[in-house]
Amino acid sequence: MGMTIAEKIIARAAGVKAVRAGDIHTVNLDRMMSNDGTTHLTVDMYYNKLKNPRIADVKKMVFIVDHNVPSDSAKTAGSQKKMRDFAREHGIDFWEGKGVCHQIMMEHYVCPGELIFGADSHTCTYGALGAFGTGVGCTDLLYGMVTGTSWVLVPETVKFNLTGSLPEGVYPRDLMLTIIGQIGANGVNYQVMEFTGEGAKTLSVNDRMVLCNLAVEAGAKTAIFEADEIALEYLRERGREPKAVFKSDEDAVYAKEYTFDLSEVVPVAAKPDFVDAVVPAREVCGVHIDEAFLGSCNNGRIDELRVGAAIVKGRKVAEHVRFLVVPASQEVYRQAMEEGLIQIFMESGAIVMNPNCSVCWGSCQGVIGENEVLISTGTRNFKGRAGHPSSKVYLGSAATVAASAVKGEICTADML
């Protein structure tokens, strides 16, 4: 009986020939990432709870301050200082203000075949490069840091066969929200989403990141693409080598299979307060908005900034709207400057901000007030996610967000 890519990565990390869904294995972790959302607690536990505090392999560790940066309060600054001091004292790779953690990891660390734990639910993004990345809490992260290992319950894999290609004006974000809308927020709980088929070949690494990143919103442990020539080219450009390139065997076992025809996807929006409350964007057109957000680990890369800039070019953001543009990393920011995109955004009246998680996580910049409405390229639209519990978040593509910022109400780009 064959194995899927995810099973092969776990088997390699466990040092065994084969694994099956449902098995529990001890695995060697290739890499661990922790951000300022929980690292202060990890550091506290390291010093106060461990009988024998130690780090198995400091080269596996990456700490990234991205959630509340620059800090918004003295207490936040204190928690981040704890993280910064710990990283410096132990020689852990440390990034601050350089970008959202998953973007930094993709630009500088992730390699195909690796098994990576991140203390952030969107660690599943790394499947875009054929790695097995999964989100954990700070206790799991601490255990991994101390021992270099962890335990994994081998998940089932669900195959998503992609056919066709996306029509003009429809984006990978529309595709992934469509998939989540169909299978539900619990659709692939504790399973792996494996994206494959001819449609997958039409997607860039950027596009694949958009899909994998949101897999957790359907409950997935991770999502994964085969590391094909497109992925290997991305890696080569950055001077990295794959750990291992795996393909799923023809006789691999899948818990379920879905087929999605990319050519049939339309612009969609997720309505408050659930990511799977997905409808054609046209159905929510006309909803008054107070703020629009273009950014996040899901949708703040150069591709999305290009889409947004093309729409606002020569136009003005509606007077009553704050339009936040937040590049996912400084690399993306610089590229956007070189291409003149930042200029276009600023001329339109957008507020261009430093790379960070921003209003997507509702604690730092751009938080919205009582009964306010945000349209966002962020990851979630849960109740109060972006600020006041009575506020509302709609999720849409970069095109829908930019068009809505101009119109002052939700609309699709073709309606401007």
């Binding site: 529990i24 300022d36 959302g37 929980t38 202060h40 607690l41 506290d44 536990m45 709870k49 461990l50 009988k51 024998n52 959630h67 509340n68 207490k75 936040t76 204190g78 928690s79 981040q80 203390a119 952030d120 639910s121 660690t123 989100g135 954990v136 809490g137 700070c138 206790t139 799991d140 601490l142 255990y143 101390v146 021992t147 335990w151 319950l153 927020a185 619990n186 709980n189 504790y190 957790v216 919103e217 409950g219 442990k221 659930f274 799977d276 996580w361 509702g362 604690s363 938080v367 979630r380 849960f382 109740k383 109060g384 996610r385 519990p389």
Partner: protein, 158 residues
Amino acid sequence: MGKIFKFHNDLDTDQIIASQYLLLPTIEEMKVHTFESLDPEFPQKAVPGDFVVGGENFGCGSSREQAPAVLKALGIQAVVAKSFARIFYRNAINIGLPVIVCKDLPDAVESGDEMELSLTDGVAKAGGKEFVCTKLPEYMQQILSQGGLIASLNKEVQ
């Protein structure tokens, strides 16, 4: 015996503890904001031994370990739901907060009902009825019985 606080399907961890409190220095400072968006009085009303009951996909969304941690800090005895999102489930076990899958109980109880739970038997009692819960896999049961992952790690190094 403890009383039940019941919540909806797809209850996400942002509702348990909102992002704006996650970078506070300690769980003790965070716990007074537990379930603030849904029931601001929850931290005052909940007493040690009480239960949180959810529907499907309890604890979805963010991996914030602060979510099970504030429930444990308030003395919640266990979370019982039809199903759990995987990161919350794993985090809860890792910190020693029992998470129990019970398909029939959530629809049969309301907030304020009294409930009794035997972890060893995997049986919950509420409203004069008994509900059989799914037992944890042995590996996870071991972590839980040792008091969580760090306690088990400290045992390993002895």
